[in-house]
Symmetry: C2
Subunit: 368 residues, 2 copies
């Protein structure tokens, strides 16, 4: 009647030791004869032992892993989706014993220093952060990392710091892809322009540079005739775009760097440029749909905000709970949105009501 045992019990039985000893061997804890350890490891190897994470999570439930999250709270567009990914993954991990401390900031860089400090004070084991104020954050991040607090930046980096990892679409690459696509969509020798947010922002500058690089490489004799700054302002963007179109009626392409593409679309529409000027935008939100249909927008470069959030949280949690190696960077490939695949992106689905049941029920998996 030898009941079939599992896991560490089985190993213990086979090695004629107690589970305590097996545990010590498996974890390289001290206080065990080297011969016994070898023998046990041997057996573990042999039967292909791999620990039951559920049991482990359950067992160590008291000394729970805590993760702090500091991301902007803006309800529209990008950060909304970023939070979506974060929260869904949190939901999953909470069931495995990981605890989360969500500390949204109003907008990127607004109060993130304070929040970051609070998080560290409160003794979290790791922090997921959009580094809105990289300069000021850097010393704090370094300090935290020194204390053993793992910091993972998401979407916006603090490049000079010792953060453990960054999850993002590289701005340069983002622009570069837009440039390549533009270069392939317009005829050789075409003239294109860029509408950026403000070039003092590193992200926007890098995207602009990337675009330039990609475009010039893929459009023989192409020219970038102007880079204007919209400063994320509706009116300014509209005005400057109109002006641009007035000055260069032969414009062949336009790249919008930021999420703020609606005024540009309107300007294009108002001056009858639809179809004539290839417009490549950035990010995605519901109101853009009609401009895709009207063929005003040729394509948009999608930064997978949902996935960024998901990946950041998961990487950090995996590292903290299972000691899984944290890659220094997880660079996602941006998506290309066109009218054909538009409807497959989360942003285009009617906002599903969050389930309200208190009991079980998880979330479904992501598509795009």
């Amino acid at each position: 009647m030898n009941k079939e045992k599992h896991g560490i019990h089985r190993i213990a039985e086979m090695a004629n030791v107690s589970i305590g000893t097996v545990d010590r061997a498996l974890h390289g804890r001290g206080g065990i004869k080297d011969a016994t350890r070898k023998r046990i490891l041997q057996i573990a190897q042999q039967i292909g032992y791999s620990p039951n994470l559920a049991a482990r999570a359950l067992s160590v439930a008291k000394s729970r892993v805590r993760i702090g999250v500091c991301i902007p709270k803006e309800i529209h567009f990008f950060y909304d989706q970023l939070w979506g990914g974060v929260l869904d993954e949190e939901h999953h991990l909470e069931q495995l014993g990981v605890e989360f401390e969500n500390r949204p900031v109003k907008t990127l860089g607004e109060g993130d220093i304070e929040v970051f400090n609070e998080l560290v004070e409160s003794g979290v084991d790791g922090i997921v952060l959009t580094a809105g104020s990289p300069k000021e954050l850097t010393p704090l991040i370094n300090e935290a990392e020194e204390k053993g607090v793992r910091v993972v930046c998401v979407s916006t980096d603090a490049p000079g710091s010792h953060r453990s990892s960054i999850v993002c679409v590289e701005p340069h690459l983002n622009g570069c892809l837009a440039g390549e696509l533009m270069g392939k969509c317009v005829a050789p020798g075409s003239k294109v322009a860029v509408v950026a947010g403000m070039l003092s922002t590193e992200d926007h500058r890098k995207k602009t540079d990337g675009f330039s690089e990609g475009f010039l490489r893929h459009c023989p004799d192409g020219k970038i005739i102007s880079v204007v700054e919209g400063h994320e302002d509706e009116n300014e963007s509209f005005q400057k775009t109109s002006e641009l179109l007035g000055r260069f009626p032969a414009l062949d392409g336009l790249y919008v760097n930021t999420v703020n593409c609606l005024p540009v679309c309107r300007a294009l529409g108002a001056r009858g440029f639809e179809g004539k000027v290839k417009l490549i935008t950035t990010d995605l939100f519901a109101e853009m749909a009609s401009y895709f249909q009207k063929a005003i927008i040729t394509a948009s470069i999608y930064q997978h905000p949902y996935r960024q959030g998901q990946v950041a949280v998961r990487l950090l949690a995996d590292n903290l709970t299972n000691k899984v190696h944290l890659p220094p960077a997880a660079h996602l490939s941006p998506g290309v949105v066109m009218s054909t695949n538009l409807h497959l992106f989360r942003e285009m689905r009617s906002t599903e009501a969050r389930p309200s049941e208190p009991v079980q029920k998880g979330r479904s998996v992501v598509q795009a």
Copy 2:
């Protein structure tokens, strides 16, 4: 000294009942007074109870969920990656008590009937399947579903069957996106052609139709002048492409439907058509890299095989273990690969050695 209790114990304490009763209330099991249930649910709601999945998984570890997987085993290209996603997700879930029965078939449709039957016989709770022989499989799938075995198709569908879900990039949409991209990359009035596998295959036919639709919608006065079948044969593909280029020297674009694009690239190169003909391909593998660099390939439509595998397994496991709703379909948006983002795809990374340690160590998260 009232120690802080957790989960169902806390609820039990607050409601002055035993944990058994709480369990009954939470699970809608019979044998409980309606008033008590209401009260308990009320409290659960109030304290925002959500079950500890680790504990649950651990507890029900005996009546384990078993999932069978039947996918082609081809080591190159697509199915390799598909397996990658499947295995990584399995790895994750195994630690949570889910068991897997991997039954690779040689090639798509080869012996899948037998394997499927075996899997059902062996009493699995769910099956992940590439339905290579949809016709013959359909009645079996229906039978299985009737017995309560959840079948999730991945990549290749059995459209007429009652399978619980399908995870894929829709072939029509796939082609359509290629068509749209082509339409936007060539000048109005351009002439393009298609190299398909064989049009008797539903997948290839749908992609071809989709391409046609997308192209004609986005390229004014565009024409599809020819559709040739390469039959997945290197020589035939090369020959037919060369021939095509000879017949239509003014060709502006070429769309390759299947993974088999190398011979087409070579033909294009051999006849000095690089850069002149916009080539859009399907899928991705390492050998394609140089053709991207030489600008022979303009773009490739990527079907995210790794992610398809991941999603399929996760959806099914989530449904089986947590009763999470299974969506009738998970249609992924295909990715657009160009020279800029090429290196971000898994296929382009040197095959990392699998970790061999017996103890812990998980896998890192996916990027593309």
